[in-house]
C-alpha cells in the first residue's frame, strides 16, 4: 500500500470525515453496503475496473463510492455472476446500485451548484429545454428573417446565413459551447477533489499525461463494457456485444459531427468558404456519416434500454432516454437539413436543428452527457491510482 494511503483507523473515524464524504442518502448507504460485501468476496475482480479500484480501499467514503459508480459501465456481468444477487439474503446488485448512485454523483459534482437539481427528474427538464430552444429559434427566424428566405428555396454559399447571420450563429453557439466546457472543467475539478478526499490512494495532484492516455485507451475501446471478455448483458443472461457496438457508433459518430463542425468553422474563418458545403466536402461527409452513425447508435441504445432486464436498471431512469433521444434528434435533424437544404423546408429545418443542438450543448453538463466525461476521468484516475498503489 502506498505510504499516503489512509489507514482504516482514520477510515473508521467516520465522524472525522468532511461533511461531503458522509454516506448520506439511501443510494450511498446501499453502495457502501454492497462494496463491503464485494470487497470481502472479490470474485468479480477480472470483470472490469470497478473491483480493482474497490480493492485499493478498505472502507468507503462518499467520494470513493462516487468514483466507483462512475467507473461502472453497466455491462451487467457482475450481476449475473454474483452468487449473492437477489433472492440471496445479501441482495448484491452492483450494476443497479451504482446506476442509482450515478445521477446523485453527477449532481454532487455539478457546477454551478445551483444547477444540481437539474438531475432530479432530468428527462422532462431536458425535453422542456429542447422544446423551448426549438421554439425560440423558429420564432426568431420568423420574426427576423425575410419570409422569402425562410420559406423559399435558397441555395449557394451563405444560404444559411441569409436566415441567421453567421456572426450571430457563431457567437451564440460558441457561447453555449464554452459554457459547457467551463461547466465540465469545474465538474472535473469537483470530482477529482471529491475522490481525493475519500479513503483511496491519495494522488496529491491532478491527472498526469500517462494516466490521461491510459484512460483514453480504455474509454475509446470501452474495455470495461465487456464483462472481462465475456461480452455485456442486456435483456437476459446471454452476453452479447451489441451495446458496445451501438455505443461505438454513437460515440464515434458524435466525434465525427464535432469534427465536421470544427472543419466547417476552420473553412469559414481561414479559407473564407461559406456553408452550405458541397457533398464531397469534409464537413458534409463527416456530418453525414457521423450523424447517421450517431442516430442509428442512439436509437439502438434507447431500444436496448427498453428491453433491458428490469433487475439491472434503476427505475428512476428518465435521464437515459432524454439523452439518447437528444442525440438521435441532433443527428436526424442534421441529416434532414442536409438532404432537404435545397427545398423550402430548409429554414424550418435549420431552426429545428439549431434549436436541438443549442439545447443539447447548454444542457450537456446537466444530463447524461456527463456520463462519458466522468467515466473517462474515473478511468484516468484509476490508471493513476493503480500506478501509485503498487
Amino acid at each position: 500500500m502506498s505510504p499516503e494511503a489512509v489507514t482504516p483507523a482514520e477510515a473508521a473515524a467516520a465522524h472525522a470525515r468532511p461533511l461531503d464524504q458522509l454516506l448520506r442518502g439511501p443510494e450511498l448507504a446501499e453502495a457502501a453496503r454492497i462494496m463491503t460485501i464485494c470487497n470481502a468476496c472479490r470474485y468479480c475482480e477480472g470483470l472490469c475496473a470497478v473491483f480493482p479500484a474497490m480493492e485499493m480501499r478498505r472502507d468507503f467514503a462518499a467520494g470513493d463510492l462516487r468514483h466507483l459508480a462512475n467507473l461502472c459501465h453497466a455491462c451487467g456481468a457482475c450481476y449475473h455472476d454474483c452468487q449473492y444477487a437477489p433472492p440471496h439474503e445479501f441482495g448484491v446488485n452492483v450494476p443497479k446500485t451504482l446506476e442509482a448512485l450515478r445521477p446523485r454523483a453527477y449532481a454532487d459534482h455539478a457546477w454551478p451548484r445551483a444547477l444540481a437539481p437539474m438531475f432530479d427528474r432530468n428527462g422532462p427538464k431536458i425535453i422542456a429545454l429542447t422544446a423551448i430552444s426549438v421554439a425560440v429559434f423558429l420564432f426568431a427566424f420568423m420574426a427576423f428573417a425575410d419570409p422569402g428566405v425562410m420559406f423559399g428555396v435558397v441555395e449557394g454559399p451563405g444560404a444559411f446565413y441569409a436566415i441567421m447571420p453567421h456572426n450571430v450563429m457563431a457567437g451564440l453557439f460558441g457561447a453555449a459551447f464554452l459554457w459547457a466546457i467551463l461547466a465540465f472543467l469545474m465538474g472535473f475539478r469537483n470530482y477529482w477533489r471529491d475522490v481525493e478526499g475519500g479513503l483511496g490512494p491519495r494522488l496529491g495532484r491532478g491527472p498526469d499525461l500517462a494516466a490521461l492516455a491510459a484512460g483514453g485507451h480504455d474509454a475509446g475501446r470501452l474495455k470495461n463494457l465487456h464483462g472481462g471478455g465475456m461480452g455485456c448483458f442486456n435483456e437476459d443472461d446471454q452476453p452479447t456485444d451489441s451495446r458496445r457496438l451501438l455505443h461505438h457508433l454513437t460515440f464515434y459518430g458524435f466525434l465525427a459531427c464535432l469534427a465536421s463542425t470544427t472543419c466547417a468553422t476552420a473553412m469559414h474563418y481561414f479559407l473564407g468558404w461559406e456553408a452550405p458545403y458541397s457533398w464531397g466536402s469534409a464537413p458534409v461527409l463527416l456530418g453525414f456519416f457521423g450523424g447517421s452513425a450517431m442516430t442509428v447508435g442512439a436509437v439502438g441504445l434507447a431500444r436496448a434500454r427498453m428491453k433491458r432486464e428490469g433487475a439491472l436498471t434503476d427505475p428512476a431512469g428518465g435521464m437515459h432516454a432524454a439523452f439518447t433521444h437528444s442525440l438521435a434528434a441532433v443527428g436526424a435533424t442534421g441529416i434532414a437539413l442536409l438532404l432537404l437544404r435545397s427545398t423550402p423546408a430548409m429554414g424550418t429545418l435549420l431552426a429545428l436543428h439549431l434549436g436541438v443542438v443549442f439545447a443539447f450543448f447548454v444542457a450537456a453538463p446537466y444530463g447524461k452527457f456527463v456520463h462519458g466525461l466522468y467515466r473517462y476521468l474515473a478511468l484516468v484516475r484509476h490508471a493513476q491510482e493503480t500506478r501509485t498503489h503498487h
Binding site: A40, R42, Y43, H80, D81, Q83
Partner: protein
C-alpha cells in the same frame, strides 16, 4: 412443460446441477445421448456449491497466460499425499491428476473462461486456474452451453429414490412440484454433492453442536441421493464424521454465506472462547495452511463460538471482511460487547500481553515473534494487544463439505458393496470426492475431481445410448 419432459425417452439422467453434473451432461450429449438434468434447487440457486468456488487445481508442464509456472503431476501428487496423509486411492488419485492436465482445454471447450489469480490468493497463481467472474459465472457458462447443445434441464427437481435391478439402474423417482414421477433412463449419473446442509445428519456425529454450525454453501446439498445410493447397496468411501470446516464470521447466515464470510485475522491476535480462555496457538503456521483446522477447534468450544481480538495496529493486515469489527476502547468494554466475563477476559489479555517476547514482527514470514509461559503458546506474529480501539470478530465453524461418498472406479462407475460395479450408474463430484481426497484439503481440488469424473461419467453414460 417439465412434466412432459419426464415422460420422454432419456438415455442419460443426471442428478444434480453443479460442475460435475453439467460436465457429465454436456459430455454425454456431445457423444450423442439424449440427456436430462434434474437439479433439486430453483434456478437461481442452481449449481450448488460450485456457485461459491473460484478456482481449480490443474497439473501442467508449461505456464500459460494465466498460470504463472509449471505444476508437474508429480508435484501435485506429493501435495495430495501430504494433505491426505496417505488417505487416498493412489491409482485413482494419480489417474485423476494425470487427467487434470486436460481440464484447461476441456473446460474452455465448455465455455468456461479463466483469469489470473486473485489478489487475496496470489500464492495459488501457479497451481490453480481461476474462473473469470467466479463459480457462478462458470455455472452460467456451463448451463448456456448445455442448453445450446440440447441438454434438457429441470429445476426444483430432486431425485428421491432409485430403482435398481441387480446391477442395473432402471429409473429414478424425481420429485417436482410436490409430485413424484418415475423417470426411466439407460444410464444414471449421480452428481448431487455431499450432505453438509443436512443438519440432522450432521447431528448424528456431532450431536446438538451441529445446530450451531454455519453451512458455507448451498442449503440444497442434503445428501438425499448419497443416502439413497448407500441404502441401495453402493459401497461407501470416507468417514461420515469427516468434514472440511473453517472458522468463519459467526454473523454469517446459517446457509450459503460463501466466501465473503471468511475471516483472516486470527493469526494477528488472540482467540478466546466464551469463558474468555485461549485454546490454541493462533500463530502456528501461515493462515492458508491452518484455516481448515480452526473450524474443528471452534466446534469444540462451548456454544461453538470464539472471538478473535486484535488491536488497531493489525486491522490492515488481512483481507477486509463482510461484517464490521466489534470495536471497543478498553478490554472491559470489549467484554461487555461480546458478553464475556470481564475479569477473565482481562486476566487472559494481561497474561497474553505479559508473555509476548520482543521480536521483529513480519506478517510475510514465520517471524518467530512468540509468547513465553502460556498454555497454549502463540508461536508466530505474537504482538501485544494494547493500542485501542480493540477490534473483535466472533467465530463459528463453517462447514464447506463432507467426505462421505460412494466408491467409484476409474471409469466413474459406482461400486457395489457386494463387489463389482453397477452396469450403468456413474458418480462425479463431491459425492465421490472421498475416493481421491479421504482427508484434508488442497485448494481447488474439489473442482478438479468434479470435472475429471464428470467428464468420465458423461463418456461412460453415453455408451448406453440405444
Amino acid at each position: 412443460m417439465s412434466m412432459d419432459l419426464f415422460g420422454r425417452d432419456w438415455d442419460v439422467l443426471v442428478a444434480g446441477g453443479g460442475n460435475a453434473a453439467l460436465c457429465a451432461a454436456i459430455t454425454a450429449r456431445r457423444a450423442g445421448a439424449r440427456v436430462l438434468v434434474v437439479e433439486a434447487a430453483p434456478k437461481f440457486y442452481r449449481g450448488g456449491n460450485t456457485r461459491h468456488t473460484r478456482n481449480m487445481r490443474v497439473a501442467h508442464d508449461h505456464p500459460n497466460e494465466v498460470l504463472t509456472g509449471p505444476y508437474p503431476e508429480d508435484e501435485f501428487w506429493e501435495d495430495l499425499l501430504r494433505v491426505t496423509g496417505g488417505n487416498t486411492d493412489e491409482q485413482l488419485a494419480r489417474f485423476t491428476l494425470a487427467q487434470s492436465k486436460e481440464l484447461w482445454d476441456y473446460m474452455s471447450s465448455l465455455g468456461v473462461r479463466f483469469q489470473p489469480s486473485l489478489t487475496g490468493s496470489l500464492s495459488l497463481g501457479r497451481t490453480n486456474a481461476f474462473f473469470l467472474g467466479g463459480g457462478k459465472s462458470l455455472m452460467n457458462a456451463l448451463y448456456r452451453t448445455a442448453e445450446a447443445e440440447g441438454v434438457a434441464v429441470v429445476y426444483d427437481a430432486e431425485v428421491t429414490a432409485v430403482e435398481i435391478e441387480g446391477a442395473a439402474f432402471r429409473a429414478a423417482e424425481v420429485t417436482h412440484d410436490g409430485q413424484a414421477r418415475r423417470v426411466p433412463a439407460r444410464a444414471f449419473v449421480a452428481a448431487a454433492g455431499g450432505f453438509e446442509a443436512n443438519i440432522e445428519w450432521l447431528e448424528e456425529y456431532w450431536g446438538p453442536a451441529a445446530r450451531n454450525f454455519r453451512i458455507r454453501g448451498t442449503p440444497y446439498n442434503r445428501g438425499s441421493l448419497l443416502r439413497t445410493l448407500l441404502d441401495a447397496g453402493a459401497q461407501q468411501v470416507g468417514e461420515p464424521d469427516q468434514c472440511h470446516a473453517v472458522a468463519i464470521d459467526a454473523r454469517a447466515p446459517q446457509f450459503d454465506g460463501g466466501i465473503a464470510t471468511r475471516l483472516d485475522c486470527i493469526v494477528f491476535g488472540m482467540v478466546v472462547n466464551r469463558e474468555a480462555e485461549r485454546f490454541y496457538d493462533e500463530g502456528e503456521d501461515f493462515w492458508p495452511k491452518r484455516y481448515a483446522i480452526w473450524g474443528r477447534l471452534v466446534a469444540a468450544q462451548p456454544e461453538q463460538e470464539a472471538y478473535a481480538i486484535i488491536d488497531s495496529r493489525s486491522i490492515e493486515l488481512f483481507m477486509p471482511s463482510i461484517f464490521p469489527a466489534i470495536e471497543a476502547g478498553s478490554i472491559e468494554e470489549m467484554a461487555g460487547k461480546l458478553d464475556l466475563p470481564p475479569d477473565r477476559l482481562r486476566a487472559t489479555w494481561e497474561a497474553f500481553n505479559a508473555a509476548v517476547r520482543p521480536g521483529d514482527f513480519d506478517p510475510a514470514t514465520l517471524d518467530g515473534c512468540r509468547t513465553e509461559g502460556l498454555t497454549p503458546e502463540k508461536t508466530n506474529w505474537a504482538r501485544t494487544i494494547e493500542q485501542p480501539p480493540f477490534h473483535a470478530y466472533p467465530l463459528r465453524p463453517g462447514i464447506t463439505f463432507t467426505y462421505l461418498g460412494v466408491k467409484v472406479d476409474r471409469e466413474a462407475r459406482v461400486q457395489r458393496a457386494s463387489g463389482g460395479a453397477y452396469d450403468n450408474i456413474y458418480a462425479a463430484g463431491e459425492i465421490m470426492a472421498g475416493n481421491v481426497l479421504g482427508k484434508g484439503y488442497l485448494a481447488g481440488i474439489g473442482m478438479t475431481i468434479g470435472s475429471v469424473f464428470g467428464r468420465l461419467a458423461g463418456q461412460g453414460a453415453s455408451s448406453h445410448v440405444a
